[in-house]
């Protein structure tokens, strides 16, 4: 893309256009047209209310859903005879299972004929601390050690290790595939062009939806979980590696070639070392994505902390969910800090004194010996193998206390804050959510389709309108029109809120260095957290309702929207701001007439990313009473009769995602260069 654009700009400018381009008539009055379309829609809704709404009962299924069930049954029957399964899917499953079991047997589960894993808790803590120290620094090593011991104290050692083992397996496979592919895409424009839309699609799809289809091919369990995680976690590695390779200064590459380097020498001695820091950043992103997905994969029986959260959420046991959620967050923080320290290692190594450099091998050697001693102890003695749990507790030394405290806070909030939370919930639901939902769900399907297509045309372009029409047609085909509209209502409301927050906070951060310094670390931390745990505090506050899912979705997607807006405002050229100031512009005028219009592309991008994040969270909200498509998917995991319906719901979610993504992309393409991420 960048190369294509560069090629375009190097051409001499074409003759000036004869006249300003004349767009369709509506292009000049976009806002008025949108308002008009919505007004017509409201009138039609009032006239035709509750007719042609294609409603399908929660418990009902359509022929399509049953047919998918049949397909599943026949796949199940042919699993050990169909050559595709015998030689492809089953083989992949065996390899991945073997890898996962090996890692799991090393740190998490009894294996290799032992009643306990090879490495007991002491060994794991020692190895983790040593690795964090050797590749990162002393600070993150201490943090990692403390957090891992804390897992044990929480009574979640085994679950934490299960999660870690799955994450490691998925990361290993992701990087094994992702880094070479990324290098290839970095070197070849053609590969990059082919890969980019595939990666875009992989990242647009809400994590939730590809779990079910995968179980069809790889059964329920670790293999499916690892592959699902791979789909979610490999794209950042590929993208960022390619970006790193592409960002190496052309002069540096040219100099290397001019000195007579072979392509291999240029790759290994110039491109990869120079891009190293960026590649490590990609590894960081991959690890964070993997952890997030591994916890969600609890839905298809992946072992680990996700299971605890899932079970507790389903019984609305906030205390237990909080305890496990805390472990997940801590795990995320450790993995993030350690890999970030790894990426900073290069700079740190530069600043070391010669004495420090000379001392380092001895220190590392001593650390390695100490680690080996711990490993041996944990291999040999039961107390160092299994994290001890005091008598009479169900969750170890402090797990019960944490759960109890969280429950107490919940109870207090529910008895003292009900007035606020309830009012907030009721008012928002009645004033925002309900009207949108009524309009979408109760209008005849053809009215909604017509409105959506026209709006896509006005906001985006012809291609976006066609995409919308196709996507909605597929949705009708899935038999889940009504549920899709309910989900869409939630997504739209949550996105509006997200963008609102994004603009308010983003403008503030973009204009004030101080605000940026204070808020950005919080946003960074929030983005590291797996989506799953966002639900926990809001379930505690609002109970299990669709409103809860919307709030969680807004909180989950706000950081990315805020950051994009802040960066957009910050990137407005300082000269322009200075020129406006010297013309006597007031602060409000500056924001409204200079900064926001010039950051328009960033705003549209923030909306686009906000939509994608919101959608993925709203459907996860199906777990806690948000109903609609998310619920259909979850029901598909739980009951085999709803498998087909769940799969259809997944498809409807993907269609919703593609539609919203394409329309906002088209809008951003209209306002300026359509650069993504």
């Amino acid at each position: 893309m960048a190369v294509l654009e560069a090629a375009k700009t190097t051409r001499p400018p074409a003759a000036p256009p004869a006249a300003t381009p004349t767009g369709p008539v509506w292009a000049a009055h976009r806002g008025a047209v949108v308002a008009g379309v919505i007004a017509v829609w409201v009138v039609l809704w009032a006239l035709l209310r509750n007719r042609f709404t294609l409603t399908l009962d929660t418990a009902s299924t359509t022929d399509l859903h049953l047919r998918i069930n049949d397909v599943r049954d026949s796949i199940d029957a042919g699993r050990n005879s169909n050559p595709l399964f015998l030689y492809v899917f089953n083989e992949i499953r065996l390899v991945i299972d073997a890898l996962t079991n090996a890692i799991s047997g090393l740190i998490a589960q009894p294996a290799f004929g032992r009643p306990v894993p090879l490495l007991g808790w002491l060994g794991v803590v020692a190895v983790v601390m040593f690795v964090a120290w050797a590749l990162g620094n002393g600070r993150v090593s201490l943090l990692a050690g403390a957090v891992f011991v804390f897992f044990g104290l929480q009574g979640l050692w085994t679950q934490a290790m299960d999660t870690l083992a799955l994450t490691l397996a998925a990361v290993l496979v992701s990087l094994l595939i992702g880094i070479p592919l990324g290098v290839w895409a970095g070197l070849s424009d053609r590969v990059n062009r082919v890969l980019t839309p595939v990666l875009d699609f992989m990242q647009t799809m809400p994590t939730f939806v590809y779990l079910a289809p995968l179980t069809l091919f790889f059964l329920i369990g670790p293999a499916s979980a690892v592959i699902a995680t791979l789909i979610y976690a490999a794209p950042p590695a590929i993208r960022i590696t390619a970006h790193g390779i592409r960002s190496v200064a052309p002069a540096t590459v040219e100099a290397s070639v001019a000195l007579g380097s072979t392509p291999r020498q240029t790759l290994f001695r110039v491109l990869l070392p120079v891009a190293r820091r960026t590649i490590v950043l990609g590894i960081n992103q991959t690890i964070m994505a993997a952890l997030s997905m591994v916890t969600i994969a609890a839905l298809i029986d992946a072992p680990g902390l996700g299971q605890n959260v899932l079970k507790a959420l389903q019984t609305l046991d906030v205390g237990t969910a909080f305890n496990a959620g805390m472990s997940i967050v801590l795990m995320a923080i450790v993995l993030d800090r350690v890999t970030t320290a790894m990426s900073e290692r290069v700079e740190v190594a530069r600043l070391m004194t010669p004495q420090a450099i000379a001392r380092r091998p001895y220190l590392l050697g001593a650390g390695a010996v100490a680690t080996l001693v711990c490993v041996y102890l944990s291999y040999t003695f039961a107390n160092y193998a299994v994290f001890p749990t005091p008598e009479g507790t169900s969750l170890g030394y402090i797990g019960d206390d944490i759960a109890g405290a969280a429950d107490a806070v919940k109870d207090w909030a529910q008895s003292n804050l009900t007035f606020f939370t309830q009012t907030w919930k009721d008012v928002s639901t009645a004033w925002f959510l309900d009207p949108v939902e009524h309009l979408l769900v109760e209008s005849p399907w053809f009215v909604v389709v017509a409105v959506a297509v026209v709006l896509s045309l006005v906001i985006g372009n012809v291609r976006a309108a066609v995409t919308t029409a196709v996507c909605l047609a597929v949705v009708i085909g899935t038999g889940l029109w009504s549920d899709t509209m309910t989900t869409l209502a939630a997504v739209l409301v949550a996105t509006v809120l997200t963008v609102l927050i994004g603009v308010l906070v983003g403008v503030w951060m973009g204009r004030s260095r101080g605000a940026d310094r204070a808020i950005r670390p919080v946003l960074d931390a929030a983005q590291v957290m797996p989506s799953f745990v966002y639900l926990i505090p809001f379930v505690a506050l609002f109970g299990a309702t669709r409103f809860t899912a919307i709030v969680a979705a807004v909180v989950y997607s706000a950081p990315i929207a805020i950051k994009l807006v802040a960066d957009g405002i910050r990137n407005v050229s300082a000269t322009t701001v200075e020129a406006a100031l010297s013309a006597g512009t007031s602060t409000l005028q500056m924001i409204r007439k200079v900064q926001l219009p010039m950051a328009r592309e960033a705003l549209v991008l923030a909306t686009n990313q906000g939509l994608i994040y919101v959608l993925s969270m709203v459907v996860i909200g199906g777990l806690i009473g948000a109903g609609a498509l998310g619920y259909d998917v979850v029901a598909g995991f739980r009951q085999s009769t709803y498998f087909g319906k769940g799969l259809a719901a997944g498809l409807a979610i993907v269609m919703l995602g593609v539609m919203l993504d394409r329309v906002t992309q088209a809008a951003s393409g209209r306002t300026g260069g359509a650069k993504r991420r």
């Binding site: 001499p12 100099a255 070639v257 001019a258 000195l259 007579g260 001695r269 120079v274």
Partner: protein, 347 residues
């Protein structure tokens, strides 16, 4: 001029065309005659280098000068085939360079050529000494030997004491010294400079130009130097090739360009030059008139006008320009003042 020696690099009818079906352009008489804009409209191609021919003598500093977009950077990249020429011939020490395969080309780049870049092109993850030794490393030279060699060159370019630094800890001028050292480390026959000092401050630029002159005296390499700065070209170049829109406009020594510009473009280009610092007496001498006293001071024809000024003005007789005992012409106050006063005349 060491023109009687056989040339190190010999370029004939060289073309570089970018775009679809580029090779058709030099072949077609009609297309190759088109201007930049018409060629773009007709074929979608851009001709960066058009029909360029020249020879470079051993030990010569050959400057290619032109404004941005004139094709000079493309031309120098054709010489070591970082960019593949579209057509023409290219001979290096008698070897057909365009016939070299990838392995031979690498060998030449490792042993015979090296290049200094405008934006330095240093490896940010390596220390200065490792940057300088990179070319030796990829040849397979052992670590001790290449470090020793690198340190010698580092001393030569005046970077001693900075060998353990990383490039981003150095100023622009120092970074370019690293680039220079890296180019010299392989002991090449030919050094290519692609606008090496354009990114530097004026004062540092002057230092570096003097550095290049000093190095040229010390190591005596053949140098091909690309620049858009006429004063740099005049200062460094034994001969200068002026390019415009990919075509060569004129090739010659500095005083030839200033004294006898080939066309208005070159004349315009050199109009701001302080002519007394470039022109020699041979450009201003006139045949003696019958009434001229022929016993004034004697000077060689290669003396610069500004060097001769005082002698001429102090003498009440015209000075004689002599070579091998033969009178070539005379120079009086009138001629000297004609050059010095004409500095502003062009504008």
């Amino acid at each position: 001029m060491p023109g009687d020696l056989s040339p190190v690099i010999s370029v004939r009818d060289l073309w570089k065309v970018f775009g679809p079906k580029a090779e058709a352009v030099p072949k077609s008489e009609e297309l190759s005659a088109l201007g930049r804009r018409e060629l773009m409209d007709r074929t979608g191609c851009t001709a960066a280098v058009r029909d360029v021919s020249f020879d470079i003598a051993p030990g010569e500093v050959f400057v290619v000068m032109g404004l941005s977009g004139s094709g000079k950077s493309t031309l120098v990249r054709c010489l070591n085939r970082l960019i593949e020429p579209t057509s023409g011939t290219l001979t290096f020490e008698g070897e057909d360079l365009l016939a070299a395969d990838a392995a031979r080309l690498r060998e030449l780049r490792r042993l015979k050529f090296s290049m200094v870049f405008q934006h330095f092109g240093l490896l940010p993850h390596r220390r200065v000494v490792e940057n300088v030794a990179y070319g030796l490393e990829i040849r397979g030279m052992g670590k001790t030997e290449r470090t020793k060699k690198a340190m010698e060159v580092i001393e030569l370019v005046g970077l001693l004491g900075y060998e353990k630094s990383y490039p981003d800890q150095l100023s622009g001028g120092m970074q370019q010294r690293v680039g220079l050292a890296r180019a010299l480390a392989g002991d090449p026959d030919v050094l290519f400079f692609d606008e090496p000092f354009s990114a530097l401050d004026p004062l540092i630029r002057r230092d570096m130009q003097n550095e290049v002159i000093r190095l040229h005296h010390e190591v005596g390499k053949t140098m091909v130097f690309i620049t858009h700065d006429l004063s740099e070209a005049l200062k460094l170049g034994d001969r200068i090739l002026i390019m415009r829109d990919g075509k060569m406009i004129q090739t010659g020594t500095g005083d030839e360009l200033v004294g006898a510009p080939a066309d208005d473009y070159v004349r315009d280009f050199v109009s701001d030059v302080n002519r007394s610092h470039v022109l020699t007496l041979r450009w201003i001498m006139r045949p003696p008139r019958p009434d001229d006293p022929l016993d004034g001071p004697v000077l060689s024809r290669d003396v610069l006008v500004h060097e001769a000024t005082r002698v001429v003005l102090d003498s009440d007789k015209p000075i004689r320009v002599m070579e091998n005992g033969e009178l070539l012409g005379v120079v009086g106050n009138e001629e000297i003042l004609g050059v010095i006063a004409a500095v502003t005349e062009g504008s």
